[in-house]
């Protein structure tokens, strides 16, 4: 079978060209890149052990990916032991079905930021099935209202300046919201507060999972994850199977390296959640659902990841911590933002696109827009050799898979 990609290339080139002329992208990215560079430099200097720790994490991630099956089994058992419910979703559809099975319809859902959520188009799916879903991360909320898609994995609404935020907020809230960042933050805070406490379901991702304890580590700054995972009676974690590492101690190392390269000395909040809320205060009888959720579910999503793990050239792409550092250093990303992407972005995103979200049709044009200049490898705490993988993807797009 032959797929004609020529039009895809032309359309993609047009979208890149258009993005590169967008003054908002230009302004926002210029600001973001220079702030990323200076904060990271400063943070790495302040915590000089980070580079070495990153090397250790690289090794442990590669061991973990090599033992994926075993770790998954162990992590699922740990979640169950903690009185949570663990699911394995082989693919996109089953992940959505499992989530819907837990949630049902006519529910209010508050959701934290998750690239996996984007991959699955989870919010859209739940909405289609009669639920009200709110993105609680400010950036994601802005995009939800704009019907827009993320332009960076850590700062999704990087391309939307305050004036445009004010515009969309004024329309949504039905009152004048001035283009003042503090005011903008405030209206969302007020609005969300009520949602947290009326929602039946909270959904979050996880940055790392410890197989031994079943602990989910979730890094955040806004506090929205605390509230979405703490207030509603049900908490669902959706997480890619590549996020599992053997032990709690190791999970902490991964977390530290992740936030450091995401330009934080220390993030505002690190949530560690391993089961439903419980108390034994009355007669030592364990009762679930004290202040937090009574029910706790974890959906481990594969969706192409274990296939990736089997392929020598590509398994390394699963080491990605989603710190977003490489994107700031990518000359193509710097002028096009998430337009160099399809859900997942930039060079590393090209590999993820090929395997988990979009397929070769979407990945091939992206692969050819990569300069293979190699600067992402310099930045990447995991030293992921993206240019080599892009080369291999190009080869596959020429000769077929």
């Amino acid at each position: 079978m032959t797929i004609d990609l020529r039009k895809d290339f032309v359309d993609y080139a047009k979208s890149l060209d258009k993005a590169s002329e967008d003054p908002n992208i230009k302004k926002a990215l210029t600001r973001a890149v220079s702030s990323y560079r200076s904060t990271v430099a400063e943070t790495l200097e302040r915590f000089p052990h980070t580079a070495e720790l990153a090397e250790e994490v690289r090794e442990l991630k590669s061991q973990s990916i090599a033992n994926l099956d075993k770790l998954l089994e162990q992590a699922m058992a740990s979640v169950e032991r903690n009185k949570g419910k663990a699911f394995y979703a082989k693919d996109h559809e089953s992940a959505l079905e499992i989530a819907l099975g837990i949630i049902g319809t006519n529910k209010t859902v508050v959701k934290g930021k998750s690239m996996l959520g984007e991959e699955l188009l989870l919010r859209e799916y739940l909405e289609e099935h009669g639920n009200e879903v709110w993105e609680t991360d400010l950036g994601e909320f802005i995009l939800q209202l704009r019907k827009d898609r993320p332009m960076h994995i850590v700062s999704p609404s990087i391309h939307v300046p305050r004036e445009q935020v004010a515009e969309v907020f004024s329309k949504f809230f039905g009152k004048e919201v001035p283009p003042d960042i503090a005011e903008e933050v405030k209206v969302v805070r007020e609005f969300m507060r009520e949602k947290y406490f009326t929602a039946e379901i909270g959904i979050s991702g996880a940055n790392v999972v410890a197989a031994d304890t079943g602990a989910m580590v979730i890094i955040e700054n806004e506090g929205n994850v605390r509230l979405s995972t703490g207030a509603p009676p049900v908490h669902i974690v959706i997480v890619g199977i590549e996020k599992i590492v053997p032990t709690f101690q190791e999970a902490m190392k991964v977390a530290e390296v992740t936030w450091r390269y995401a330009q934080y000395g220390i993030p505002g909040y690190v949530n560690i959640i391993s089961g439903p809320s419980k108390t034994g205060d009355i007669e030592k009888v364990t009762t679930y659902g004290a202040h937090g959720p009574k029910e706790f579910y974890v959906i481990f999503v594969d969706n192409g990841r274990s296939e990736m793990a089997k392929q020598e050239t590509f398994s390394e792409a699963l080491h990605c911590l989603r710190c977003g550092g490489c994107m700031y250093e990518c000359p193509v990303f710097q002028v096009t933002a998430g337009h160099f992407g399809h859900i997942y972005m930039g060079g590393i995103g090209t590999i993820w696109t090929a395997f988990v979200a979009g397929g070769m049709e979407k990945a091939a044009p992206m692969a050819y827009s990569c300069l293979r200049c190699g600067r992402c490898v310099e930045r990447c705490p995991m030293s992921i050799n993206v240019p080599a993988m892009v080369g291999e993807l190009r080869k596959r797009s020429i000769y077929g898979e």
Partner: protein, 329 residues
């Protein structure tokens, strides 16, 4: 079931040209070797001077890119133009040879003479070398870049044959792209490919104490080529060479192994974006305080040259051109 993709025509044509004509743009060997007339370089020797035709073809690539920027790559007209020497269809009303004819003589002269200048610089430093002349074949770096690895496997045999004929032990490459594939890709494809691979920069650096000081007013800024700096690890050498010439070097905000790409690698498929990236890099380099940009790679040279805004006072030169000032003096 194997899935096959129909890829943009420009990829097929460039790879076809390399495989059939030994050059991405089907330049004739005699054209690519014209610069060496009068030098009487031997065809055999210890050290092989290798241009790969890369500097020589730069103006043609530019003219091609100018054409494709305005033509839909899926169209018939486009395929005809890209086929240039393979296929000329009169009916389309486009003279395929036009691309070649439209190249400015001054550009052709400039890029052709880079090879001559490189040869003279090396001779000035006392190096003796041989050159394959009309027979020299392109390294195939673009086959590697663009994903045509299986075709490359076959193609490199022709290149190796020519290279072996010289009897050389060492190959000196003007382009870091050629050096990269000779060093890292050929050994995996060709058994016993054990040539020592060096770049022009390496050889100059080894004899930098023989360089004569240049009376150069002002300072220069180095644009480190990605391949040279990150793949081949050559960046301090450039600074040392300029130091030996007595020329002050100003540094750009992003340099050495953190250098910013010139945008060149995506020029053929994404010409406009490539141009944006090139201009940004020119501006970044100018932040150093110098407007005299030196690089050491044919594609960087052409991409940065193209990235200069109209009327921009910046000067973009290859290190080879810069060093040649000393030869003339």
């Amino acid at each position: 079931m194997t899935m096959k993709n129909k890829m943009p025509m420009v990829l097929d044509i460039i790879s076809d040209n390399i495989i059939k004509h030994g050059n991405p743009l089907a330049l004739k060997g005699s054209e690519a070797a014209a610069w060496a007339k009068g030098l009487d370089l031997p065809v055999k020797g210890e050290l092989l001077f290798y241009t790969g035709g890369e500097y020589q073809m730069l103006p043609f690539i530019d003219s091609l890119v100018k054409t494709i920027t305005h033509v839909d790559q899926g169209s018939k007209v486009f395929s005809v133009m890209m086929g240039v020497r393979n296929l000329i269809e009169k009916k389309t009303g486009i003279n395929a040879e036009k691309i070649y004819a439209s190249v400015l003589a001054k550009d052709k002269d400039r890029y052709n003479s880079v090879c001559l200048k490189a040869a003279k610089v090396l001779q000035g430093l006392g190096y003796e070398f041989c050159y394959a002349g009309n027979e020299e074949l392109y390294s195939g770096a673009l086959l590697y870049e663009l994903g045509y690895l299986e075709d490359m496997r076959e193609y490199v045999e022709n290149v190796v044959e020519v290279v072996k004929k010289s009897g050389a032990k060492t190959i000196v490459c003007l382009s870091p792209h050629a050096a990269e594939v000779f060093k890292f890709v050929y050994p995996k494809m060709v058994e016993g490919f054990d040539f020592e691979i060096v770049t022009f920069v390496d050889l100059v650096w080894q004899r930098r104490d023989k360089l004569t000081k240049l009376q150069f007013p002002g300072a220069v800024v180095i644009h480190d080529s990605c391949r040279l700096a990150r793949e081949l690890g050559i960046h301090q050498e450039l600074r040392d060479i300029l130091d030996s010439l007595g020329v002050e070097v100003k540094e750009a905000p992003r340099n050495r192994d953190w250098t910013t790409c010139c945008g060149g690698p995506i020029k053929i498929l994404f010409p406009e974006l490539s141009h944006v990236i090139g201009s940004r890099r020119v501006n970044e380099l100018k932040e150093s305080g110098s407007e005299h940009i030196l690089t050491s790679c044919p594609y960087c040279l052409s991409a940065l040259e193209g990235g200069r805004a109209k009327g921009d006072s910046a000067i973009v030169e290859d290190l080879i051109e810069f060093l040649y000032r000393g030869v003339r003096a």
